[in-house]
Amino acid sequence: MTDSINDIEILIGKSITKNTTPEENKKLKSWIDSSDANQILYNQTLNVWTKSKNLFSDAEIKEDKFKIQAKINKDLRSRIQKSRKRNILYKLAAILAIPITFAISWHFTQNPNNNLEENQFCEISSPQGNVSKCVLPDGTEVWINTGSTITYCTNNFNKDVRKVNLEGEAYFHVSGNNQKPFKVITPLGSVNVTGTEFNVKSYPESNKFETVLEEGSVELCFLSNSQQSLDLIPGERAVYNSKKNKIIITKVDTEIYSSWRNGKIIFKDATLNDLIIELERIYDIKFYLIDKSIGEFRFRGMFSYNNNLINALEKIKKTAELNYHIENKEVRLSKK
């Protein structure tokens, strides 16, 4: 769109932003005084200027939306823990107040694993740039990707359902047990299995919940629609987008989605946009694309967690013909 813009519009702009000379001021004043319509036009423009003092970009609004989601999750978690603690304390105080000595002796002699410890949670996280592996009490092996956390209740874990909360990405090798189903819970959905191998990815800042099944079978449930569940067969990848409320299932090469366990990420036909999301996670940095168009550049290849950032950037620079500039944990990419 070509905008025709006349001198008076320019003059109004200069005046409002205080960029006028005294002569120009005079000229504008006489223009304004010459008609009511001019006066209104000037005032309207000034009004727009006065009210644009606080700018709120689309990116900031989006960011705030994620903050709300994170606050809700955090609040729910602390509520669950608090209410359990409170309940147990009140019950203990009320029930055990008088016969406390009996209770304690009974507690230790009869039932050493009393539910006194019911509210103990175990939390395992991977620091930025690292992958952790742990073995859960039931023998299940879990690899936890960088910046991710799993939580489970130490006392309830092996009772009837094996429940694990996940924030981020993890790979599960669940030891088989038909009596006690295994459940991975994320803010957007959950995975129910008895014994299989699969990868789950659900970072809080994204609106996606993603599962790749390597072996066995799993059942997926989505929190937004609890009636809906879905079975996967090995080699399938399901991505649930909570924003669009859509599920996409594709046949994939599962190795790509679990290669991070060995500290490597394999990309096949990934865009630069996909790539920088991973690199931001590994190196705890922020990327900015100076030209938005370069985000669509496609890659194929491998990155290792052990390489340093410069190595990774040099690789990108060579293949995509880009320049990079690092400053305070921020990397700017631009066209050569």
């Binding site: 005032n43 606080n54 709120f56």
Partner: protein, 196 residues
Amino acid sequence: MPEIIDQNIFNKIKTGNETAFSELFEKYYSSLCFFCYDYIADMDKARSLVQQVFVDLWIKRKKLNVTQSIKPYMYCAVRNKSIDYIRQHKNTIQINEIIENTQETPFQNLIQEAEINNKINASINQLPEKCREIFILCRIEGLKYKQVAHKLNISVKTVEMQMGIALKKLRENLSNQKSINLFTIFISKKSNFLTG
């Protein structure tokens, strides 16, 4: 009939529908922030208070029993939060002109005001990239035309043109809606132009 649709959103939220919650956010969040700013004169704080209103709404959604439609409900909730905030911080907060004004202006007018602010903000976000950049440098960073030209390595003439275009567009976008009458109120208050 926007009111009926609003009521619908609220019922959906009560049943835990995240899409409805998301819609509510898209529709009102930024306006509510501008509204809150009028009370507490601190944009960062305003954002965090409004976020809290949304969080509370979601967490307490099952207990809520609202007969009015959701828009006035949201604005009331933000107003109450703002007033609480001012009370708690009355020793540290600077009571300035903005805050005093809100105590005299009717609630409905403040809502309209916030919606206009939001509309202008949305128009700024929709300006062509170059135009927007120049506008922000002038408005938010308070640079003179010469400084903007120097910083972006363009001519002062271009800055003048782009600012003229930006202001014209914002003005036109705004006067497309029925807010003309509000301008007239504004005119009577602001007749001391060019003196400052």
